[in-house]
């Protein structure tokens, strides 16, 4: 229990120490969870709403389309029919509403509620003479509300209400399952998108008369076995064919046509969810990679001072689990809030409006994915730290840079920012590739949206045949889905760009500082850091163009897509690259502003880390943001260090209280002693130095203490083996030996708690 607490404390401390990295991790995982939540919510909708509408409106099992009312009588008597409404006369009508023109099927209904198929009003009241009720998706496409005035075949009607029905798929798929007025009068040519309107029976007949065509008829039937409606319809339609013969449409066909719309959305959203999840994983991978050096070293540290592998794993788990859970919560909330944006236009069915239901398993799945992503980020350093000996984990940077000889040679011809930028990018080819892939996806998403708009506009023009038709709710909805998805994708891509730029800036601290020392200006260095992002982004953005168009063509079922104008594409590509540059500039500027001297010094400053450690031991004084020089100087001023062969400054060494009893020997004394190695080094003959500072410690200070312990406590102070070796004039191997040797001793390993405190920078008083 105490260990878990300790692990949590260490994890919390780590999170606090690096808020920016934690926030980025949070954002990446939250974005992935958001899209996943959206996908799951939409998934729920597609399987639910028709059934609910059918129940709410007492929907028909079969819809019969008839040429004459007489056919209805025969049909109602047919075996298995248990209820019927109608037959209702149907007239073709040309609807004009506020400048828009659309074709509609006008059904003549009784003013009283029918037995089967009672359209459910979502606004206003049911039909009355001179009044029309519009199917909801149709009304939305026309932009008409209850109370508005529209004309049907030139006659004025008041829209008394808006309703949904289970007897027909919503606009514009009215005829997907079957309809009887395929040729609306005056529409100029055949239109696929036919709306549904309900008027009174006399009005319907009058509309038919004005059209100088006899009305057709429609009847809604309930049958004994609704599950068998498809077979009943098939049998009936087989038995009655020919011109003027009635035909049946089973409710299953209507449901299928109804689902088509949301199916299309899912076709967009499902791959979208995958892509976003992939980008999130990529971001997390880059984040983890950026922190790998530090994480490995930190875990090695825990191990070196006696932390068990269990404790080490627990610390990592606690940290990433907390982040993942927070991100999952945020993602679930965001997805839940964003889902109505997608489903609102689809709310043509009674059961489907508003916030989609998010079931417990769905939420659980989203959380599980978030946790899995975070754990994946933990895995690499955890395995590394568990496998590697503490010594090698502490040795040196976890990942040496790559060398791309051809690129380095080629870059020599470029101006300084590009020269440095290309070399920086080439140091981490995998990171650059991930960045390029993300930009490709982001640019692809933008291109897909643009292509969709162009294609939708072209399709609308083709179908409408030049007339002034209403918009297509399907297109509008698909576009909304695409847009929401694109926004999420772009957010993620932006997060990824920042993450990559941050990791690059972190990774490039030393080369950037070095370039500064060699005469590159701060602006050149910042431009180079930004260029390291932009260079891989360029081919990435270019690749996004074919990707976006191809993806849309695939989503379209191989259908034709209209390629948007070239300048749209060029603008999208350039915009993406510019955005990457802008996002990369932030960490780049911060990175370039860091003082050169501090970075170069921190790189090899053993004394610095030893000092930092000692100071925490000594007073626990808050660590002020001071430069390395200050620390060094303070250290000197405190009298910790003797000068070269000078006795005039009695060191803290000599004033140090007596050594604590063996069981509790803390790192203080040892560390202070280490400070004394430096003068020793200068005074010792060169030959002796090969023999490690241990020997010096013994001779000069007369304390024959455990040599390895000093090494380990230097280790605990955050010093790498190489630095220790440099300081003590021993080889790295010797230091490694001492680290391992000491860890093997009993009594050391058991003090996991104090060890972890060393790692946390908080040492017990004694």
């Amino acid at each position: 229990m105490g260990r878990m607490l300790l692990a949590c404390r260490l994890a919390a401390r780590d999170v606090r120490r690096r808020p920016a990295a934690t926030v980025l991790l949070l954002l990446a995982i939250a974005a992935a969870t958001t899209v996943l939540t959206l996908g799951l919510a939409l998934h729920g909708i597609t399987s639910q709403p028709y059934q609910r509408t059918r129940a709410a409106t007492n929907g028909p099992d079969e819809v019969a389309y008839l040429a004459t009312p007489a056919q209805a009588t025969a049909l109602a008597r047919a075996a298995g029919v248990t209820g019927a409404s109608g037959p209702y006369p149907v007239a073709g009508a040309l609807v004009r509403a506020g400048g828009l023109v659309a074709a509609a099927e006008a059904q003549g209904r009784g003013e009283a509620a029918a037995g089967v198929d009672r359209p459910a009003l979502t606004a206003g009241t049911w039909v009355r003479p001179g009044g029309v009720v519009l199917e909801r998706a149709f009304a939305e496409a026309l932009g008409v509300r209850a109370g508005d005035r529209i004309t049907l075949n030139g006659r004025w009607f008041t829209v008394t209400g808006i309703a949904v029905t289970a007897a027909s798929p919503p606009y514009p798929d009215r005829c997907a399952a079957g309809c009887v007025v395929p040729f609306p009068p005056g529409a100029g040519r055949w239109r696929a998108d036919v709306g549904l309107a309900w008027v009174t029976e006399p009005d319907a007949r009058a509309l038919a008369a004005s059209d100088r065509a006899p009305p057709a008829y429609v009847e809604s039937l309930a049958i004994r076995d609704p599950a068998a409606a498809r077979q009943v319809a098939a049998a009936y339609n087989d038995a009655h064919h020919g011109a003027g013969a009635p035909f049946l449409v089973p409710w299953q066909s209507i449901r299928a046509a109804d689902g088509v719309m949301i199916q299309a959305e899912r076709q967009i959203l499902d791959p979208g969810a995958w892509i976003t999840a992939l980008i999130a994983v990529a971001s997390v991978a880059v984040l983890a990679g950026g922190r790998m050096t530090e994480a490995t070293r930190r875990l090695g540290l825990l191990k070196a001072v006696g932390g068990t592998p269990g404790l080490v794993a627990a610390v990592l788990l606690a940290e990433n689990l907390a982040v993942a859970l927070a991100a999952a919560g945020a993602g679930l909330a965001a997805g839940w809030l964003a889902a109505p944006l997608l489903t609102r236009p689809g709310a043509f069915l009674v059961g489907a409006p508003g916030a989609p239901s998010l079931t417990a398993p769905d939420a659980g799945l989203a959380v599980a994915v978030a946790v899995a992503v975070a754990l994946a980020a933990t895995l690499a350093p955890a395995i590394r730290a568990a496998r590697a000996s503490a010594a090698s984990a502490l040795a040196d940077p976890a990942r040496p840079p790559r060398r791309e000889g051809a690129l380095i040679a080629a870059s020599a011809r470029l101006p300084v920012p590009l020269l440095l930028g290309l070399r920086l990018a080439a140091r981490r080819p995998r990171r650059a590739a991930l960045g390029a892939a993300t930009v490709t996806l982001a640019a692809g998403a933008i291109v897909a949206v643009l292509t969709f708009r162009a294609s939708a506009a072209a399709a609308s023009r083709a179908i409408a045949g030049g007339t002034n038709g209403p918009g297509y709710p399907v297109f509008a909805r698909d576009e909304q889905v695409l847009t929401v998805l694109t926004v999420v994708l772009l957010t993620l891509a932006a997060v990824h760009a920042i993450v990559t730029a941050w990791a690059t800036a972190l990774d490039a601290r030393r080369p950037a500082a070095l370039a500064g020392a060699l005469g590159a200006t701060a602006r050149q260095v910042a431009a180079a850091l930004a260029a390291a992002q932009v260079l891989p982004a360029l081919p990435g953005a270019a690749a996004g163009i074919p990707l976006g168009i191809a993806a849309l063509a695939v989503a379209n079922g191989g259908g034709r897509v209209t390629v948007p104008p070239a300048w749209w594409l060029a603008g999208a590509t350039a915009g993406t690259v510019l955005a990457v540059a802008a996002l990369a500039a932030i960490p780049a500027l911060i990175g370039a502003r860091r003082p050169v001297t501090e970075i170069l010094k921190a790189d090899a400053a053993l004394s610095l880390s030893a000092f930092r450690h000692r100071r925490q031991v000594a007073g626990g004084a808050p660590e002020a943001p001071v430069g390395g020089d200050q620390r060094r100087v303070q250290r000197y001023r405190h009298g910790d260090v003797e000068g070269i062969a000078d006795g005039e400054r009695p060191g803290r060494l000599k004033q140090r209280p007596e050594r604590p009893p063996a069981g509790t020997e803390g790192p203080q004394g040892v560390n202070a002693r280490c400070g004394a190695c430096e003068p020793a080094r200068a005074a010792e003959p060169a030959g002796r130095r090969q023999h490690l500072g241990v020997e010096m410690g013994r001779r000069r200070h007369g304390r024959g203490r455990e040599p390895g312990l000093k090494v380990v406590l230097l280790v605990a102070a955050g010093t790498t083996n190489a630095e220790i070796a440099g300081e003590l004039f021993a080889s790295v191997r010797t230091v490694e030996h001492h680290v391992q040797h000491t860890l093997a001793k009993p009594g050391f390993r058991s003090r996991a708690d104090s060890a972890a405190r060393v790692a946390a920078g908080r040492l017990p008083a004694a």
């Binding site: 070095l514 590159a520 001297t597 010094k601 004394s607 200050q630 100087v633 000068g643 030959g687």
Partner: protein, 248 residues
Amino acid sequence: MGEDAGACVLRARGLCKTYGKDAGLVRAVDGVDLEVAAGETVAVMGPSGCGKSTLLHLLGGLDRPTRGEIWLAGRRVDRMSEKALARMRRSAVGFVFQAFHLMDELTAVENVELPALLAGHPPRAARRRAAELLDRVGLADRAGFLPAALSGGQRQRVAIARALANEPLVVLADEPTGNLDSAATVEVLRLFDGLHAAGQTLVIVTHDSRIAATADRMIAMRDGAFIDETRLAGGTRGDLGALAGLDG
């Protein structure tokens, strides 16, 4: 300062660098006056933390003094803009660090040519100059090696070649032998000696009395201030082996 610009390459007056405030005020460099003549080698010695490195960073324009003035080749450096400072570092100053600070992914010759490329020299000329310099430090056969494949002494020699890439007025070396064993120290020592002989102005900050002994002047520093100055007329050339303690 124009009149002595020819003789005096580097000049500092009343140089101060402080960190912190009030009780936490730390004077890393505290009122340093220094003049380095052209062709002179100056060694600054002192215990760890006495402000040697800070002084070197101030002189080289890597850091800015809190107070005081620095002239490099007759131009006042401490008031320059960041950009001008960078240009100055590029053309007039060469740095040698204790930890070498070579770019790990660049070969020896690529490391050496980097300052020339940063200064905008044509790649071909930069490469030619880098090859010459590597030859001068005795590493012509190691030009294509990565730093990881070089010994410590070789790496430091590459770093010295890099410091010379733009023919700087002054080379500033910060503990150049601090990370080296005796044999490598002698190699580097010999190299500095050669530079000295060729008339290169050198400021070396060191712990190592042997390297200090090759200088024209040795300055002892303590608590950010110069406390002693010794003129070692004629240097100690020709006697390196004995100096380095290799005989016995």
